[in-house]
Symmetry: D2
């Protein structure tokens, strides 16, 4: 029953700021818990809303000392403070990711940004170039890559346990947009179905990018082209709420991706199956502590987080022994922990442990390119298109 | 704990013949058990092989009185016997379905034929015309439609319990052809991977037709067009062993179909999910006694065969109380039982109970048209094509 | 995809009679299907009811030639017929098992009897002595021992795969007697809750015997003593409808047995878990095609009927490839098939294959002794008692 | 997708100290994460070890300002500090719970103590009296009661959704002590198998108390008597590593409790099933986001944390929407959050929200009495005994 994870050694906590994530927000609270879980960050400043009163109220709620109503002002001022923030978490709607990030990274402040990277491909590329030039740590919270058994899966594919990959089946069905929730003014639905704030993709941007990223992360395969059939089932909806996508990978592997926000009865049904010449694996987000593996001709077996067979890549991401489930927040916190390792290494002027892995700019640009390709393909009756990378 | 199914009342058993199904065969034995289970048939004649010695040996094994080495001769002679067969079960490789069936139906002998109907679309249509003209009962053993919970699912869709159907996700992964088994001479692999005997489709014909039929049976939706990406992953294989297909149905529903014979770790993973505006359902062949239903906003619930909520359409197909599982053979036998009801009604000069339902010529032609469309689409880089019905 | 089971070679079918199993019965129909499935029996005579008209009507329903209203007369007459029955299936309420069996076995007619063997221990012992003296084949339909994965489990325990057995947890919850169904006159509930016909045990006799037999069959452990706490939750019920039992086995293994007919939401939840020094296994009747195995320190893996790792003991009991589920009827039929092997060997004057295994008199006496011990223990406030064997 | 939980409003964080939980410990780290998750506590002092150097090293690891080597000294000094700790978390081996707690509570410092309350019943009662007299908040981390679906289950039982409870089946199998791990010096095994530090019960104290507490928490039933058969399967082990217990509750409900640390293949298999006259429910700790409910005659349905049907008692304990799993740490943190609500109310001189619920002294004494009763019963050959409350 020993704790198997090797956690970041104590150092002064990273001073963190946040943009977005005020009182009605969902993902901001998740980021805050994730930042707190391993005690590597201290939230000291925030621009929780463009409305000063609201931003202040949120700061008071949270016990955060410095509140701003302008993210540009926040960036400028924090950069000048002796104990100003070292990193910023960006949890705004998609269209603000780039302008916010630009303000901070140009001042050398590290960025932890919610996905997708931006709401347009041009902006994603521009941001990526700027961020690379700046040299900051840039983490994109494709949080599902933080689950220990996803790390285990990636390690097994890389080790050749599956043989040559033939098939990648990934899906992410939800049902929360089965009805025109945006018409009710519900905040999450409102901006996510507005192309101006969400981007050209609806379900593709919100969850399709997660599914795509997960498949890419685990398999390491490069996409060659895709054919996408997008739908907006709910009358009046301005973005896709369902997508069927066929995938062709370099080297001959093929796949399918399905994402939906109108699949009645599905909560967050992200599920990945990968089949190779030697074995197949399956992982489902709603039961994330299990990885199912079947060698060709063998028995389907269930590897647990920390249980028999699980290796160091899972162990690095694990806080408690097997049989005591970890969940979404722990997975999310793992991204924050990985980013902390990178930031602390930067602070110390060293290189982080080579095992440190988290999604960043490349994954961000590719995610937006995936949405862009889906939209282009669907507009041409599901023609095969390449990612415009 | 009363038996809920209303079974066919006693009448002289239907005299049954069989073509194919000799000593090395797989599906012949299944048909024989299915015919026997409800005691409605008596196997009295067979052409188990074109090799007379083998046919005789099989007949001896089975305790069948009349053995033939020529199906044409069998048809001719049985038709002249006073107590000749009333129905024939055709369990040969696909390319023989049509020639065999033609011999029997033209003599007024009812046909129970394994799927797919034929190995080419032209032949399927020709056979269908001839069979319709003959007036015989023609049952196609798309056996999965015999599972009680599949009947239940169909009834629920028809009753509007799911609302308007939006999405149909169906898949049938296997792994038994992950390696070049045909090179070893294994009989089942040998003919199934030979286009001359199997038809132009490999996995599409062998199991894709089942998946397609199941989706059509349950939803009642009409396919408008499909886009298929077929692969033959195993070097040297002459037919597809994997297929990714996007589906567009009349009325706007969309779907995906995946079938594979190279998905390592999958046995007979036929699974159907249907999502409507009101609810979603899921059924998996490997656990066939359960139907999962989730009303939008409600709880996922598991209906069992004969348990709470299951209706008369499931009950008609059920022999034992819930909690005692029925399986593949019982589902297969249900097709035989339904065909028996039709044949006995024909014998009696009456109409069968309107509830009697089994796949027949229309489903058979459509199945072959589905394979044909997949092959055509894939040859044109997954272009959208219509079924050539 | 070859059929892996080696089935009984063709020989003239065994002429079978049946006592009980008329129109309202449940288990009679199950026995008939089980007898028919592998085509080794032919039902030619029956005393389906003590009411002549009813017995005749059932015979007509079933297409059975010889109907009787008296089982004694049936035994006497069939014994004199040149083509009289060779075996009889006894499917009456429990109190009739012994008198019926005595009539047939004393005339050398083999017996296939439903469980429990009798409704009292004295009678069970007397019957066993008589049956042994007669030399007939006597099979008791503890049908769950016919499931392939139960055979697999037994083989694995015997091979030492689990190491030394420490724990045996077995349970069989149902809910069909949660309310006073017997008050409604429902036939199954009526006799099962009447001590005169069912015996002193209610749930213990009806399903506890199955659970106990399963545990004994798989582990081979000998019971040393038990402590039972029986309840009749439903007001007015004359027999137990729930039992909690602690088990002590020779050699130090311990266990628990729970059976219930008032566990709301349970259908036929028979489940066995066995834990040894090296591994643990789990099998559940409602999903019988799977056996779960976890080596100490390893991964929980799911062995399927006919899939990777399953051995010859499972294969002998299997008709179709893995992934196509078999169920209750097939398991039941396996007991009939094993009995047929024994009967045919007797007919041929040979010994049956040593692999042939089915529950018989010893298991029958022990089952009744188990019920007797539970009742005795519970009457003494769950004192530890031994089986009175 | 709004966050459904209503979390504690911002107030100065509770200054927390910790006793135990140094570098090799397991549960200390869990308590720290739990305290941190909702940002209600600040860990400012600790006696992480009786070895000063080790305690300091742990404090440095953790960034904790004040380190002690004597818990008595810590209590004395913190009580005098203006910003001394308001609450202490006790995470030592069992035998130290009471002496440590006494030091703090007599100075009015609130206590959050790991379970079981103490290692002997006499001490438990003495501690309870002292704590009650002191008026401090005393929380016992029977953390499984913090899972949202456990709260939901409790609420459903209380609301009468299950009708009158008849059966309570609870189990907690593990396998980590299948071999003599204590002989290797592994710290967790060492003290847990030493009666002087763990108490008279082994598995009963370590996990049996959890199982018992869970059953009591959810059902609210009062135990009348129990019959326990304890074993120490591993040679040389000084405490039980397996326990079979039969339970009789006031009002007529019956139950079984099984806990084991030698059940090969089990990680933390805590599972509770409760059956009433109207419905049955099931909850399993390893998949904690689901509560399974079956109304008598209805369908088994899966309620998810925050999904359809889940009520306010689950929502209070929930941070994120359904479909994104929460786990062990979140459940543990819920106990800390409930304790924080009580402590903050005390600080404010108000009463906490009546919904606030967490295990405390009564549950602590009863848990130790449960272990005591198991040991007494087993010593008398599983005689029925009452809790010595």
């Amino acid at each position: 029953m020993a704790i198997t994870g090797a956690h970041v050694a104590r150092a002064p906590r990273i001073r963190l700021g946040m943009v977005g994530g005020g009182r009605d927000a969902f993902i901001g609270a998740v980021h805050r818990i994730a930042a707190r879980l391993d005690d590597q960050y201290e939230l000291v400043a925030g621009c929780f809303s463009a409305d000063a009163e609201k931003s202040l109220a949120s700061a008071a709620d949270l016990g955060v000392g410095r509140a701003y109503a302008s993210f540009a002002e926040m960036a400028a001022r924090e950069a000048r403070l002796k104990d100003g923030i070292e990193a910023v978490a960006i949890v705004t709607p998609n269209h603000l990711h780039a302008p916010v990030a630009m303000q901070f990274l140009k001042r050398g402040i590290h960025v932890i940004c919610d996905k997708p990277l931006t709401h347009s491909l041009a902006e994603a590329k521009k941001l990526a170039r700027a961020a690379e030039a700046s040299g900051v740590v840039f983490a994109l919270t494709h949080n599902y890559t933080g689950y220990p058994m996803v790390r285990q899966a990636k390690a097994m594919v890389a080790a050749g346990d599956l043989g040559d990959i033939r098939l990648v089946q990934v899906e992410y069905p939800q049902d929360w947009l089965s009805e025109p929730l945006e018409a009710s003014g519900q905040k999450q639905a409102d901006w996510r179905t507005d192309p101006a704030r969400s981007g050209a993709g609806g379900s593709t941007g919100d969850i399709g990018t997660h599914a795509y990223n997960l498949a890419r992360f685990v398999t390491g395969l490069t996409l060659e082209e895709l054919s996408a059939d997008l739908q907006a089932f709910v009358p009046g909806r301005r973005v896709d709420d369902n997508a069927h996508v066929m995938l062709r990978f370099a080297g001959g592997a093929r796949g399918m991706l399905w994402c939906s926000q109108v699949a009645a009865g599905c909560e967050n049904g992200l599920r990945l199956r990968v089949f190779g010449t030697k074995a197949g694996i399956e992982w489902a987000q709603e039961d994330p502590n299990y990885l199912w593996i079947t060698p060709l001709g063998g028995q389907r077996s269930r590897m647990t987080r920390g249980g028999g067979g699980a290796g160091p890549d899972a162990a690095r991401m694990t806080r408690i022994p097997p049989g005591h489930p970890e969940g979404y927040l722990e997975g999310f916190a793992n991204i924050y922990a990985e980013a902390a390792r990178a930031i602390l290494a930067r602070r110390a002027g060293t290189s982080p442990d080579p095992a440190v892995t988290f999604p960043g700019l490349a994954e961000g640009v590719e995610g937006v390119a995936f949405v862009d390709a889906c939209v282009r393909s669907s507009a041409r009756n599901a023609a095969w298109v390449k990612l415009n990378l």
